[in-house]
């Protein structure tokens, strides 16, 4: 087994195992930490796919920002008597059928498809992709979507502050 394959198997085992532990853990803080572990292992998958910038962004955004934010909210809203039930009243049979059939359909589709690189891009197969290249693509070719995404972040920030302020929340 080549090192490449070994790394893939270890990382994907980490992603799937911590995803499953995220589903079944009773303590909500443990669930959040398992979620973080799944995302960090995904960052390793990104490194293996020659996307170092995305791996760094994944760690910065998810580990640095989102998980800390979620842990703050968990601690703000933690209940006095910790509920041990993990799943809601929908039960687990229906969701399990949905998830398993989705995976089965995707596996069937993937196993019947053949993927070939675009004819214009076969030259890049073994080429090392650099962050500089990605930056050129992002700021030259995709400048307008980039600006729109920045504006979307601003809108989300303002809206989150407005909602969380909860003006007139005692009117319930």
């Amino acid at each position: 087994m080549s090192p490449d394959q070994l790394a893939f198997f270890i990382l994907s085992f980490m992603v799937i195992a911590s995803g499953l532990m995220f589903l079944v853990s009773k303590n909500i803080i443990h669930a959040v930490l398992y979620f973080l572990l799944a995302l960090l292992a995904t960052a390793g998958i990104f490194l293996q796919l020659k996307a170092p910038f995305l791996a760094a962004t994944q760690i910065l955004v998810y580990a640095g920002a989102i998980t800390v934010l979620i842990l703050f909210v968990v601690m703000l809203t933690i209940s006095k008597d910790p509920e041990v039930k993990v799943f809601g009243q929908t039960g687990i049979v229906g969701p399990a059928i949905a998830a398993v059939s989705f995976f089965a359909i995707m596996a069937a589709v993937v196993s019947r498809s053949t993927f070939t690189p675009l004819p214009a891009e076969t030259a890049g197969i073994d080429q090392v992709q650099t962050v500089a290249q990605l930056g050129m693509e992002l700021y030259v070719e995709y400048l307008l979507p980039f600006e729109i995404a920045a504006f979307l972040l601003l809108i989300a920030l303002v809206a989150a502050v407005y909602i969380a302020l909860g003006r007139g929340h005692d009117a319930t």
């Binding site: 995803g19 799944a38 809203t77 891009e121 890049g124 989150a160 909602i163």
Partner: protein, 101 residues
């Protein structure tokens, strides 16, 4: 590794997220399950980027925007979760049954 194994990993992570979003009791964990599904999409996009368009890296560009939208979604979602908690003193989605009639 071939492209197919990455796609299967993405499908498995998406299925885990789907199961969590449909079955979890806590509103915060439902939000996290949706994040897991977005993350599965990112795995697929970057795998396609690496195998189909290795020169222009279109998938990587797209997944940057997916991460931006995921960050927006978490920010707004947590604000809504805080507001819900302030109104009902609980985060269990089963308790939000005001519209049941």
């Amino acid at each position: 590794m071939p492209l197919e194994s990455y796609l299967l990993l993405g499908a498995a992570v998406f299925a885990i997220g789907l199961f969590g979003a449909l079955s979890k009791k806590s509103a915060i964990l439902i939000l996290l399950s949706v994040e897991l599904m977005l993350n599965a999409v990112n795995i697929n996009l970057i795998a396609f980027s690496n195998f189909i368009t290795p020169l222009t890296m279109k998938g990587q560009i797209f997944s940057i925007f997916v991460i931006v939208v995921a960050a927006c979604e978490v920010g707004l979602g947590l604000a809504i979760v805080l507001m819900l908690y302030r109104r009902r003193q609980t985060l269990e989605v089963d308790k939000y049954n005001l519209l049941k009639g």
